[in-house]
């Protein structure tokens, strides 16, 4: 089991002072190497859920067990370390660092975990078809190429789990399909589990396991009712 979530709750205090529950997931689990898609509309708490799983956000209550380690029992520094070693993250806006070349962005993905391995970073960029763009800065790359750098970076630390937050949201339909296939392939090659959230049906229908996030997130059910 790479991921196990139990009674996970997260709420935010709204500007008017009222507390609103954003995530209330009773149970969610993923096997190693599994590829799971979560369908959810905008504002349904998908990104918050991924950030809780990644240890970027701290839950109000409940537990996230990642690679056998309960995040709520770890201090922030240890959560950071676990994230650096076990999680790859593909963001909708890619979040590449503009001052760094493609290969340096990939190196950043391993720097805080297993340590920099330039040969592996270059191999990953070759794998995503950017062998001739390694020393380009993000601004010098097309949107599709930036997406591929982001995928290479997410795999750079040999993660057990890759989180993908609307990874094709900024791509046209053709590139979205290509990119999604690439993410899935590379995760499979690297034996990394993939948890993807999206609201795009063309993306979701490619997954054997696709769950409606609203079904597992009680917070949204309460809002809906």
């Amino acid at each position: 089991m790479v991921l196990s979530v139990n009674n996970l709750k997260k709420s935010y205090r709204a500007p008017d002072g009222e507390t609103s529950m954003v995530v209330d997931v009773a149970s969610f689990a993923m096997e190693s190497g599994a590829q799971v898609a979560l369908r959810g509309s905008s504002g349904s708490g998908k990104t918050t859920f991924l950030n809780l799983v990644a240890g970027i956000l701290q839950a109000d209550s409940g537990e996230v067990i990642l690679c056998g380690k309960a995040l709520h029992q770890l201090n922030e520094s240890n959560r950071d370390q676990l994230r650096a070693r076990s999680i790859g993250y593909v963001f909708q806006t890619f979040n590449l660092l503009q001052g760094y070349t493609a290969v340096e962005n990939v190196l950043l993905g391993m720097l805080f975990g297993p340590g920099a391995d330039r040969a592996y970073a270059e191999a990953l960029l070759e794998r995503v078809g950017l062998a001739d763009r390694m020393h380009y800065r993000p601004r010098q790359l097309s949107v599709g190429q930036q997406q591929r750098v982001a995928v290479a970076r997410a795999l750079a630390n040999h993660p057990d789990l890759v989180l993908a937050d609307e990874p094709t949201g900024n791509l046209d339909r053709h590139h979205a399909g290509e990119s999604l296939a690439l993410i899935r392939e590379i995760c499979k090659e690297n034996e990394a589990a993939l948890l993807l959230v999206s609201h795009d049906d063309t993306v979701l229908e490619q997954f054997d396991t696709c769950q409606d996030f609203d079904d597992i997130n009680h917070a949204m059910r309460e809002v809906a009712s």
């Binding site: 950030n51 970027i56 950071d80 994230r83 503009q98 993905g109």
Partner: protein, 420 residues
Amino acid sequence: MSGGIFLLVRRSLRQHAFSTIITVLAVGLASGLTMSVFSIQQQTREAFSGGDVGFDAVLGARGSQLQLVLNTVFHLETSPGNIPWSVYEKLKEDTPGIRLAIPYATGDNYFGYRIVGTSTELFSDFEYQKGQKFRFVGDGRSFEDGYAEAVVGSYVAEQLGISVGDHIHPSHGVNYAEGSEHEDEYTVVGILEPTNSPSDRVVWIPIEGIFHMDGHVLKGAGEHYEHHGTHAIPEEHKEVSAVMLSFSSPTLGMNLNQQINMIGKEYTLAFPIGRVMLELFDKIGWVNRIFELVAYLVVLVSGAAILASIYNTINERRREFAILRALGARRRTVFSAIVLEAATIAALGSVLGWLFYGVILFSASYAVRKETGVVLEVFMLHPSLYLTPIGMTLLGAITGIVPAYKAYATDVAENLIPHS
């Protein structure tokens, strides 16, 4: 991990290259200025008060000891007056414990460089520094008493292009004025090797030459005596500006000090020379303290420049920090990277500061040598040359703490989303 921090620092400096360069320049100037102030301060103090000038005391007319020293040892200022030749002779012949007594007479110049009348002992017995006697370039030699011959200091020869065999006409007064040339002509018989001392800026002639110079009035006997023709000048009319003394026993200096300065009222003995000059530095100590204060303020301003240059980028870099944190960077990694970035800017500035220091000291050395003949050593290892860069780098690291804390406190989830 540490390699990771260095990568973050390198990239950040590259990304903000313009502000980095400007800040490094500012720190470099501050650092160079600080090192220069302290180095020049110490070197001038040592050169004018602590250095071995070859004499223990100077005897001259009643007046200021400082003026006497400045006039005779550093060839600056005007002479406070003259003393009879007989005083010199008495000191030389009849005073036990005096190792060397050398007469010194001024009043003329050669294109602004001081002409000093003295005796040949200056070149045969006098040591301008311990164990260092004047040496002549090539086949040059000392002038001979009774001849119209001159020996030229290295700086004068270099500046005026004088060589052995040239003829020179002294001008009246210590400052050059066109049309003030004497009829007398002197043949240059020797050029001195550089001594890096005020002597390099002097033209030496036999003291008799000063007595015989046309237009000079002697008052050794209390009445005006102007020499005409070639006959010998009566001893009682001769006078000198000062007598430079070297003692074989230091107690003699104290005895003479008692007799001449405290009991007597006719003459002044500047003794010991180092103490006299130190009094000058003590009097102008406040100037040094102002320079030091300015240097410290400049350092503080450069620290503020580092703070401003990094602090201003923190807001635009919040997303960068959030991304790094999302990739697993710990808060302390981000904090350390910013502190290291500030320290690196300061360290780079300090390295540049050595260059500025070299330029400032070279210029100062040129100016001081031109005015006094004293040479400041650009490459002298002064503690400020390593303490300033260390202090500056520490200051840089300290100024980095504020922006580093701001980066440290960045909310990851909030800043991962691009803000338009």
